[in-house]
């Protein structure tokens, strides 16, 4: 406390000087910043600079999609940077969106942690000249230029029905092991699967839809219950990565291994051992590397002015070929990707 008065005086003086400096820096920036921003905008025509913002960093799924985007930007000949928060929250994404706007990035590829919470930040970035493309998880359509959709609900339902029909020989009892009873996407898929079964596979009978609540233990127990309740059960479809892994774990140590088929949506790292030990023949998901690759080509096409994001616009996406922008500024990657013993070794997510 000694000498407080003097240090206070010195401190206040320094604080004032600093405040002035900060304001001056801001104003100076205001003067010199605008022309240089304009310059950056002009450069964007030839030089593609893309920032990728996944939901969070250190997530193998997003590492795979970032790898795909990086490969694409290398082919296009631009600069690429991955940024992101360590936890998947919308407000922490906002800072990185702001940073991309400050840097005058040509394009931003983002997987949204919330459909509307990052909208205002994206709007500001877009008015600063940044093209915004969402992938994996979309925002409200008016907040971005394009959404790269990994798969449609129809595609996801159809591939799962096709896989199970193939694995059980087109006839017999099957069950579905879903996540929670009120999961919107799960229920949409299940409804479409029922329609597809009725239309194309009349000999397959869906005996029950069980709910594992996206909890490993619950899903494991529900699998056991299904197999006891239906001795004639030929196969299980689990359109959730938690459910399919738990069901595979149960099957792999039970008498049903190899006799009851299991398929659904899973990730290669979770399912690898069950594919290798013969519990599971094939399951589906999209290929996140291709998703990132396509998103980068779409962003570059926007930056270069080849497309505006309007429905019917077409662009080339390197090894993936030609794509067309659909309704609501959506580009569909394609059918879900089927993982089996042949290709699972190529993936790490």
């Amino acid at each position: 406390m000694f000498g407080m008065k003097r240090t206070r005086r010195a401190g206040v003086a320094t604080a004032l000087a600093l405040g002035v400096a900060l304001v001056a820096a801001g104003c100076a920036g205001g003067g010199s910043g605008s022309p240089s921003d304009g310059g950056d905008g002009g450069d964007a025509g030839g030089d593609v600079s893309i920032v990728m913002l996944p939901k969070n960093l250190g997530n193998p799924y997003f590492d795979t999609s970032t790898g795909g985007a990086e490969e694409a930007v290398a082919e296009i000949g631009g600069t690429f940077e991955e940024v992101g928060p360590s936890e998947a929250s919308p407000t922490s994404q906002v800072q990185y969106i702001q940073t991309a706007a400050q840097q005058g990035a040509g394009g931003l590829i983002v997987s949204a942690n919330d459909p509307s919470a990052i909208c205002d930040a994206l709007d500001e970035a877009r008015s600063a000249g940044v093209k915004v493309v969402t992938f994996d998880s979309d925002t409200n359509p008016e907040c971005r230029d394009l959404f790269i959709n990994q798969a449609t609900s129809e595609g996801i339902a159809k591939i799962q029905v096709d896989l199970i029909a193939e694995q059980i020989g087109g006839a017999g009892q099957i069950a579905i092991l879903s996540a929670s009873a009120n999961a919107t996407n799960q229920n949409a898929w299940i409804e479409l699967m029922e329609e597809e079964l009725a239309a194309s596979h009349p000999d397959i009978e869906l005996v029950e839809v069980a709910y594992g609540d996206d909890d490993d233990q619950t899903s494991f127990d529900k699998t056991a219950a299904l197999l006891q309740t239906y001795p004639e059960l030929k196969g299980i479809v689990s359109p959730t990565t938690v459910g399919i892994a738990a069901a595979a774990r149960y099957l792999s140590t039970s008498e049903y291994k190899g006799t009851v088929a299991l398929t659904g949506l899973g990730t290669p790292n979770q399912m690898r051992e069950y594919v290798e030990d013969g519990t599971v023949t094939a399951f589906a998901l999209w290929n996140p590397a291709d998703l990132g690759y396509l998103a980068a080509f779409a962003t570059a096409a926007l930056i270069n002015g080849d497309i505006t994001g309007a429905e019917g616009d077409t662009f080339e996406a390197g090894k993936l070929g030609s794509y067309e922008v659909g309704a609501d500024g959506t580009v569909l990657l394609g059918d879900p990707y089927v993982f089996d013993a042949e290709n699972i070794g190529d993936f790490d997510f």
């Binding site: 406390m1 000694f2 000498g3 407080m4 008065k5 003097r6 240090t7 206070r8 010195a10 401190g11 206040v12 320094t14 604080a15 600093l18 400096a21 900060l22 304001v23 820096a25 801001g26 104003c27 100076a28 920036g29 205001g30 010199s32 910043g33 240089s36 921003d37 960093l57 940077e81 940024v83 992101g84 928060p85 360590s86 929250s89 919308p90 407000t91 922490s92 906002v94 800072q95 990185y96 702001q98 940073t99 706007a101 400050q102 840097q103 005058g104 919330d114 459909p115 509307s116 919470a117 909208c119 205002d120 600063a128």
Partner: protein, 359 residues
């Protein structure tokens, strides 16, 4: 011993012999942190591309505004050797209340006022447990950190309310016309002036230092320790409630998990700004510089492409260094005091032990 006597005559005598002018200016923690902030700004202006854009000022101040606001009452609380760990949970709760009431059709200003009121009540609850029940604030606010967050998440689940009147969200993001400085700085500056006067120029402020140095001595010199602390927790709750409303508007987003972990950022900035965690020491201008330092460093590093994990590491190292340097300064100070002579040293020690009750 009157306040005037402690502030002028003996202090000047003591200082004139012990510390040269340059030392007095350079070796206060506040000056050091302000100098460090200036260095970071200058280095960033030179070395970090695009840091000199007006957007930097706008985004930086917008993002740290809730921390700046909450750091004001937090400074006062830590000076009295208490702590409020529940501030970020109050932000989350206030955000959820703002969202729910707006969705229920209340006019936005009324919803915001009620949300601030809820924050104030939450702060009063903390104050009640600390002062009336007599529990340690660390334990109380660890509890209410979980409690308020639990209520917030319980009320809204994992969903978010994102529909707010545009004139209000625009206001939260608007700049002072003709400058890159966001409008939110206005209420902050007003509050900062109020808190600075309260802390540094009133008997109430001096009583906070006295309580932090020695609360028994403060009590026996006629300070109502309990009431003073209660008032501070209420202020902390009210300001956190206001920060919650601002947070909601800035991100158009009312969620139970809003501002999760922000209490640590606030406390880190307050300690970095020179407030002693053991109470009795600190000044508001240092704290404001501390918040600006953490914010500027984060902004510059993000612009330079440094990942968030590394930014956290750098902030952590900075905090530890600032605490180490404080101990080092205290040690130097003790050594100097010893060298001046036993008589004067004894007087200083007596004064310190008495906790400067009148200050």
């Amino acid at each position: 011993m009157t306040a005037i006597a402690t502030e002028t005559v003996p202090v000047r005598l003591y200082q004139a012999h012990s510390r040269p002018l340059w030392r007095r200016i350079l070796i206060t923690r506040e000056s050091a942190i302000i100098a460090l902030l200036a260095i970071v700004i200058v280095v960033a202006l030179i070395a970090v591309p695009n840091f000199d854009s007006p957007l930097t000022v706008t985004y930086l101040l917008r993002d740290i505004a809730p921390i700046l606001l909450i750091a004001l009452p937090m400074t006062l609380i830590i000076i009295t050797e208490e702590i409020d760990l529940s501030v970020a949970s109050i932000v989350g709760l206030s955000s959820v209340i703002t969202g729910i009431l707006t969705q229920a059709g209340l006019p936005f200003p009324l919803a915001a006022l009620l949300a601030i009121l809820v924050g104030t009540v939450a702060g009063a609850f903390n104050g009640f447990l600390v002062t009336v029940v007599g529990l340690p604030s660390l334990a109380v606010t660890i509890g209410t950190l979980a409690l308020f967050r639990g209520i917030a998440v319980g009320l809204l689940g994992t969903t978010a309310i994102t529909d707010f009147p545009e004139e209000w969200t625009d206001l939260a993001k608007a700049n002072i016309p003709g400058t890159p400085i966001p409008m939110i700085i206005v209420p902050f500056v007003v509050l900062a002036i109020v808190f600075a006067i309260l802390l540094h120029f009133t008997p109430f402020g001096r009583s906070l230092y006295a309580i932090g140095l020695n609360k028994e001595a403060a009590h026996f010199s006629g300070i109502d320790v309990g009431r003073t602390k209660f008032v501070m927790f209420v202020m902390s709750g009210a300001v956190s409630g206001f920060a919650g409303v601002y947070f909601t508007l800035l991100y158009s987003n009312a969620r139970g998990d809003n501002a999760m972990g922000m209490e640590l950022q606030v406390i880190a900035a307050v300690l970095l700004g020179g407030v002693s965690i053991f109470g009795g020491r600190g000044a508001l201008h240092g704290v404001i510089a501390g918040v600006l330092l953490i914010g500027t460093l984060g902004s510059a590093l993000r612009l330079a492409g440094v990942t968030s994990d590394i930014i956290n590491v750098i902030t952590g190292v900075l905090l530890i260094l600032s605490v180490v340097s404080a101990s080092l300064l205290a040690w130097l100070h003790t050594r100097q005091t010893a060298a001046i002579g036993k008589r004067r040293g004894k007087r200083v020690a007596e004064r310190a032990a008495a906790g400067n009750p009148t200050r």
